[in-house]
Amino acid sequence: MIASMMLAAINWHSVLFLVFAGLACAFAVAVVVADNIVRMAFYLVLSLGSTAGLFFLAGAEFIGSMQLMIYVGGTLVLLVFGVMLTAQAPFISIKTSTNDRVLAGVVGAALLVVLLQAAFSVEAWRRPGVGEVANPSATPLGMALLGVRVDDPPAGTSPSLVRSGYLLPFEIVSVHLLVVLVGAAYLARAKRRRIPRGIETADVAASGGPR
């Protein structure tokens, strides 16, 4: 009876939050603890995937989907790709010295304490959330990226305040991505001169001519 009373009081939103938060934190710590680089990549995938779940729970569905699509589905696949290109026996697990580990642990613990203190320091942040929003929609976000703000201003700000859209940052990021694409392709291009002549010709002949 008591158990069923307790179950009835459970807020499933909070339970889901705990599940995702626990997974995200546990796998983030696992990334640090693990030595094998491929396992680290796997844990990182799970950690970032769980974070996407947290975004969904916070009502940021578009951000959550983008996290899954760009971060987990794109960036991390790229990272795993890099891991596999360089994962030769001596580099799969490079050990760190114990001194470094202890030092990093102390610094990390200090940082964590500071951050936690900041997290608990503001009364308004500890107030329980409302948990319901009428008609969640990605439209205001899309409009904001186009430079038009259609969302309601946050409470407490003056209604006459002109809020900026994000058209210019959006364009800058687009150009930035293009530059990065070109730059990355240039940096990682195959260096023909490093391959001995004989092997290259044999390779070309075997694959049926130059491509």
Binding site: I10, V15, V31, F55, A184, L187
Partner: protein
């Protein structure tokens, strides 16, 4: 109330246990704690790992911890209308962080592969060619 002050420790502990994690609605602080843990894990990962790609993973974790905070501060679910939420701006910034992280990962990976091509290793401790 300062959580670091030893005089306040009992109050802080009591307030921690007074919060029933299973039945109370999630607040911004919950998200901030997750963000803090992710951020710290990322920093430690960046400092400890000697594999260049491991350092890159640490950077991803740090950016992600920051993103969790941005989303938490912008979320209407967590704050409602009444408190000082940063509204949509947080989500937009989180979006830009994700995009820039993708760009950063692409460049860092290219640099790592270039380093691997030239030095046949990914151990960043051996990247000391410029040391006088």
């Amino acid at each position: 109330m300062n959580p670091l002050n030893p005089m306040h420790a009992p109050t802080v502990l009591a307030s921690l246990f007074a919060v029933n994690l299973l039945s109370d609605p999630v607040s911004v602080t919950h998200y901030l704690v997750v963000g803090a843990i992710l951020f710290t894990a990322g920093i430690v990962c960046m400092t400890v790992k000697r594999n260049a790609l491991g350092v890159l993973m640490g950077i991803e974790l740090v950016l992600n911890g920051a993103n969790v905070n941005f989303v938490a501060f912008s979320s209407q679910y967590l704050q409602g209308e009444q408190t000082a939420s940063i509204g949509l701006d947080g989500q937009a910034i989180a979006l830009f962080v994700i995009l820039l992280a993708a760009a950063e990962a692409a460049v860092a990976l290219a640099i790592t592969l270039n380093f691997y091509n030239n030095h046949s290793t990914v151990d960043i401790d051996q990247a000391d060619d410029l040391k006088g």
